[in-house]
Symmetry: C2
Subunit: 344 residues, 2 copies
């Protein structure tokens, strides 16, 4: 899934997303709750009509942002109050209200309200977050009122396998149509993340979608698919695109580099995306250096197309029974670099 | 012509320009001279290949920006030295070098290097600028080396009809394939501008293109067409688009206005552009308020489509012999507002 935080994949139109072969978009409940508010999205016909996107949409529960972005103050075990990251306004959110907001937004898949902790985390605190996440999953499910939306449960538990097992078992009792693995890519090592995915994915029903939230690099994705994961969302293709970093076959490309100044080749010579069919590295570098919006847009488009290509090729490798060989090509440490110095 | 100052119409791809029915693009010699430099554009295959735009392109001579943007120091009657607006680097430009740069960039139409003064202007200074512009036109023409590019002459002379006549007559001796009227929309009233256009256009050969530079509002365009003008370039559709101002049939629309919050209608109910086919006023307002790039992009797209529609309808009115009636609809003072509070 491409990430369209506030109802738009940054700088791109739905037409361009289709052009990049994007099939599904994630939007963030927390951000849309803050602005423009779910009642506005509802009045404007729901999220699909609002965004002009007729493909599938998933909304997260808002839990992750409440705990990471907002100034949080818990007021009871089942309700949180937080200060909006925009204007400090007090907003309350609970399993019931997070679900109601997602019912109003109208995505195809919505998520149970969960508690996500950053890692490393005290065992007691982690245990609490699992208990709360399980209780909240039940409350979210009970509040869910639209049968044209699927609600997925989210497994928490940090990198503690016993807690992941416990959380998975309890959530399976609720019989969700799909399950997500949350609370990863929040500070732990690649090895710890993958060990946790391997352990947890095996506990979740193989006949239902298994979704690894907020991950990751091409290496992470291919490896996680091998462990049974079916769905991902990640900001890397677009965020790195805005920051002049192109994902290409065989590595990454930092487009501010002087060496691309008069390079007439496409970003990726084997890519057939709109960007690669029409523009040179030198031109895109120029756009980025003079801070023309079109630069980040063209790189974002390419990166999304690259990720979709990667998923297509991985599906093909699975069908042709050569997944292990394919996956080993992508298991290269630090092949892809995420630069945090965003300018857009 | 849509304006693509630094080799990109801000935020839009060539595909989107085509979608908005844009036929021709202007790029600025001064900006491309500063970054990335004409040798880079040349090494990357010339401006068409560089921008990925296979339609016609016009480059201005750089004269306007040298006199308006740059810290100018004249070093001789036929050469200027100026401090780049980017890093203060000293750059020299002359009729010969401005032409050489445009030969390197490779647009379909290039412009003679001229001197543009701001209005009001002392008569002596205005006279000087006309003499210099005429001399520089000859020097530009002499330096022009590519016969696959047309070079247009530029008539200067402020709002002084005698000077405009004198300049036009002298330039006609040089037998350019087209003529531009420069030095307007630089501080004079609408009435003075139109009186000058009326006077000057009538002096220029009707069988050759007559181009009014840097103009203007829909009202200006339709009126100038009635006076014989064939070509325009203007930043209004895109600059206003970035500033949340939509040009629509019957007036303008400031999209930050609260009244559009849950307005599900398209920007213009009679428009069939991509933006109007797919998105509501409420959604676009949301994108603008949360500063998502896609907002300015969608409004820019619509505004360009609106300008192209206006030109199409004007051509149709001429063919159907009802231009005067059509033009009177557009002769409304202050119908369109340009807001200078740009955020993008």
């Amino acid at each position: 899934m491409a990430v369209g935080t506030r109802g738009s994949v940054k700088g791109l139109t739905p037409q361009q997303l289709r052009e990049a072969q994007v099939r599904m978009v994630l939007a963030n409940t927390y951000h849309l709750l803050a602005r423009p508010g779910p009642e506005v999205v509802e009045a404007l016909g729901g999220l699909h009509r609002f965004m002009g996107w007729d493909g599938p949409i998933l909304t997260d529960s808002g839990g992750y942002q409440v705990f990471s972005l907002a100034g949080l103050r818990r007021i009871s075990d089942d309700e949180v109050e937080f200060a909006s990251h925009i204007d400090g306004a007090r907003i309350r959110l609970s399993p019931a209200s997070a679900t109601r907001v997602q019912n109003q937004l109208g995505a195809d898949i919505i998520m149970a309200f969960d508690e996500c902790v950053s890692l490393p985390c005290e065992p007691k605190r982690l245990r609490e977050s699992v208990d709360r996440t399980v209780r909240w999953a039940g409350l979210s499910q009970a509040a869910h009122e639209r049968d044209d939306q699927w609600m997925f449960g989210i497994v928490q538990g940090g990198i503690d396998k016993a807690l992941r097992s416990d959380c998975s078992e309890q959530l399976k009792q609720l019989n969700f149509p799909g399950y997500a693995i949350g609370g990863l890519s929040v500070g732990e090592s690649h090895e710890d993340m993958m060990a946790t995915v391997e352990h947890t994915a095996a506990l979740l029903p193989a006949e239902k979608p298994r979704y690894l939230m907020g991950v990751g690099t091409p290496r992470d994705l291919v490896k996680a698919i091998g462990l049974g994961i079916d769905m991902f969302d990640c900001v890397l293709p677009t965020r790195n695109g805005r920051n002049a970093f192109a994902f290409v076959r065989g590595g990454g490309m930092k487009l501010r580099n002087e060496k691309y100044k008069t390079d007439d080749r496409p970003l990726d010579e084997q890519c057939d995306c709109y960007t690669c069919r029409n523009f040179s590295r030198g031109y895109i570098r120029h756009l980025i250096l003079v801070k023309e919006m079109t630069g980040p847009i063209l790189v974002s488009l390419h990166n999304l197309a690259f990720y979709q290509w990667l998923m297509d090729e991985t599906r093909k490798a699975i069908r042709e029974d050569r997944f292990a060989e394919w996956a080993s090509q992508w298991d290269v440490k630090e092949q892809y670099h995420q630069d945090d110095n965003f300018e857009y």
